[in-house]
């Protein structure tokens, strides 16, 4: 290889190889382009804009879509937020909502349903799991319509009809127990996510292992306790973190069911506040800057948690180098 002639030849080959590489890269970027453009327009630019909006005083009265003409007021919105007497209540409302819904429905009930459906006939288990998908594939408006009738006052409400049937007093649930229904309504949607993850985790436990534990003399309950649960610790952690973020940022069902009420912010949560302040005419005057300040907190939490998922949940194993190089 030290001969000049052969050296020259291989350097020409190297140049040709660079050209062909460039051509193949351009092809790849062509395939990526549409997705890339959409991501830039609807993810990256909006993140920048929301940060910017949160330091302006943009409101209905001085609304403009021209970023250059907005009035920058620094951290004033964040100061207002810290001093807002209701922000504290909304903050604790949000923690309550996420913790209670997550622990009762998105994790516990999901785990119970997946354990129950994996311990019965396969086909029947599948049907039950499929039924739990219904709330997730129903439009929130229709889903909430159903729940509104569920909790309506006597004699129209379904629950109150049961109460009457059992000789119990009837209630105006919207005013007496709004949180109960906000939690149940969101919880019934949330069950399916954990249920699917847990079920696939349970079903991916080798059959031999499950049979071995029975042969070794454990009962079915003991098998759940000593074999299945320890083996699905990782999916459990994943569901907890992933659903925490989903609950933190979901507000549509609450908006449709109680719209944060009744009364002053009784069931208002953080993400709903951001929406109310900036995009809903509920307050008459839409405060874009102030609403964005609420949204920025959620965006930050979202970015941090999303990066954590990627790092923690074995991202590297998901990436295999492609095995065709030419084009």
């Amino acid at each position: 290889m030290s001969e000049p002639a052969s050296y020259a030849k291989s350097s020409a080959a190297a140049k040709a190889s660079q050209r062909s590489a460039l051509r193949s890269y351009l092809g790849a970027y062509g395939f990526m382009a549409p997705a890339g453009v959409l991501v830039i327009i609807f993810f990256l630019i909006p993140v920048a804009i929301v940060l910017y909006l949160s330091v302006t005083n943009l409101a209905s009265s001085n609304f403009t879509s021209d970023l250059a003409r907005m009035e920058v007021v620094g951290l004033k919105n964040y100061q207002t937020l810290l001093n807002d007497q209701f922000a504290r209540k909304i903050f604790f409302n949000t923690i309550f909502y996420v913790l209670v819904t997550l622990s009762i429905f998105n994790v516990s009930l999901a785990l119970i349903v997946s354990l129950l459906t994996t311990h019965i006939d396969r086909g029947a288990g599948f049907v039950f799991r499929a039924l739990w998908i219904l709330p997730r594939i129903t439009s929130p408006v229709v889903y909430i319509l159903i729940w509104k009738r569920m909790m309506a006052e006597a004699p129209f409400g379904i629950l109150n009809q049961f109460n009457e049937f059992l000789g119990q007093p009837t209630f105006n649930y919207v005013s007496t127990n709004p949180w109960v229904f906000v939690v149940i309504v969101n919880g019934f949607i949330g069950v399916s996510f954990g249920m699917i993850i847990f079920t696939s985790a349970i079903e991916s436990i080798p059959k031999d292992l499950l049979n071995a534990s029975l042969v070794d003399g454990s009962s079915r309950m003991q098998r759940i306790r000593f074999v299945i649960l320890p083996l699905i610790r990782w999916p459990l952690l994943f569901v907890v973190t992933y659903q925490t973020l989903s609950l933190l940022t979901s507000f549509v069902e609450i908006q449709l069911l109680t719209d944060g009420g009744p009364g002053l912010y009784r069931t208002e949560v953080w993400s709903l506040t951001a929406y109310h302040r900036a995009l809903s005419n509920y307050f008459g005057n839409a405060q874009w800057g102030y609403g964005s300040a609420f949204a920025v907190l959620l965006v930050m939490i979202g970015v941090v948690l999303a990066v954590i998922y990627m790092r923690v949940f074995r991202f590297d194993e998901l990436i295999a180098e492609p095995r065709v190089e030419a084009l």
Binding site: S10, A13, A16, S17, S20, E321, R323, V324, A326, L327
Partner: protein, 360 residues
């Protein structure tokens, strides 16, 4: 089409696929790449196909350097281990696909596909889909698809390994026959040394990304140039034993513990030229159980193969694989005397693993 590979290196990041491979293949020749899995033979084949880009070195088809030529412009045909038939197309569409991409007129496509299909004996299957075909039929379709565009080079990537033993035998003959008739330069990757020995004009034995030997089949068998080649070619594999070769009473003696084997002059001299112990190799068929054997041992395991028995005989700490007539009805635990045909013994340098007899 003549193929010249010069100093070819292909790396995947830090992992070496193949390193500094130089190989010249004559026009119309049938060459087999033989080696254990991970030896770099498939990497080399895919680099020839243009699927991988060489990290270094040159590949020439005839006079043309093809390093950066796209696969579709190399005019090659390839048969894959999995056949890689397009499941959503009929057999006809599968075979016609290369012609369609060449924008050949419909009538030409029709005619060619039927001709190829008839040659391959699948003329009545053209309307079916790959999923409805047996393994052997799929194999023929894959071959037909590779041949239909009249390639300059045919590449085979372990094409027979998914077939049952009987079918493999038939297809082996058919592929060899077809290749000789059409005279297309062919490269055939396999880990099955019987396939390589029976089909190829020359065999390139590879290991760890390096070319170990490139020779005609019987050369490889009778005169292995490295210990790897000696051990890889032949079934059951060659027995190896570290021995001291010394000159005594005008003859030569190979010696390991209690084993003492007299040696002819040519082999003895070559082996003795290397100071210290050397690796002796001897094929199972060159060891006999005989009354007048030089070495006493004990049968450890007998494995009946049908036509003969495979016997693992132990001599002290050493183990020898040999073949014996089933008629003899050998039993484990039996004490026997072994006779070695030392005119066939091979000798290798234990460090470099090169042959002490056949190195250039």
């Amino acid at each position: 089409m003549e193929i010249r590979i010069d100093n070819l290196t292909k790396k995947f990041g830090d992992v070496v696929g193949v390193e500094d491979l130089t190989l010249h293949i004559d026009d119309g020749e049938f060459v087999a790449f033989l080696g254990p899995s991970g030896c770099g033979k498939t990497t080399t084949l895919l680099t020839l196909a243009g699927i991988y880009k060489p990290t270094d070195g040159l590949i020439r088809f005839g006079e043309r350097v093809v390093n950066t030529v796209q696969p579709k412009d190399r005019n090659i045909g390839m048969v894959f281990q999995s056949y890689a038939l397009y499941p959503h197309m009929t057999i006809f569409q599968n075979i016609a696909y290369p012609l369609k991409l060449k924008k050949a007129p419909k009538s030409v496509q029709n005619e060619r596909v039927r001709q190829v299909a008839n040659v391959m004996g699948i003329g009545d299957l053209l309307d079916r889909r790959p999923g409805q075909l047996s393994g052997g039929q799929q194999q023929r379709v894959a071959l037909g698809r590779a041949l239909v565009k009249e390639p300059d080079v045919l590449l085979f990537d372990e094409p027979l390994s998914n077939l049952d033993a009987r079918l493999r035998l038939t297809m082996r003959g058919e592929i060899k026959h077809l290749q000789k008739n059409l005279g297309i330069t062919s490269i055939y990757v396999t880990h099955d040394q019987v396939e390589a020995m029976t089909m190829a004009d020359r065999i390139a034995v590879m290991s760890g990304g390096h070319l170990q030997a490139f020779d005609a089949p019987d050369e490889l068998y009778d005169r292995p140039k490295t210990r790897f080649v000696a051990g890889f070619v032949g079934n059951p594999p060659m027995n190896f034993l570290d021995v001291e070769v010394s000159q005594a009473n005008g003859g030569f003696l190979a010696q390991a513990d209690s084993i003492r084997l007299p040696l002819g002059k040519t082999r003895g001299e070559a082996a003795a030229a290397r100071a210290g112990s050397v690796t002796m190799g001897i094929r199972p068929e060159d060891i006999q159980i005989a009354d007048d054997g030089e070495v006493d041992g004990e049968i450890f395991v007998v494995e009946p193969l049908g036509r003969e028995d495979l016997i693992d005989a132990r001599v002290g700490p050493h183990s020898f694989i040999l073949l014996a007539d089933t008629e003899a009805r050998r039993r484990a635990g039996e004490r026997v005397s072994l006779k070695f045909d030392m005119t066939q013994a091979q000798f290798f340098d234990p460090q470099t693993e090169r042959s002490l007899l056949w190195h250039q």
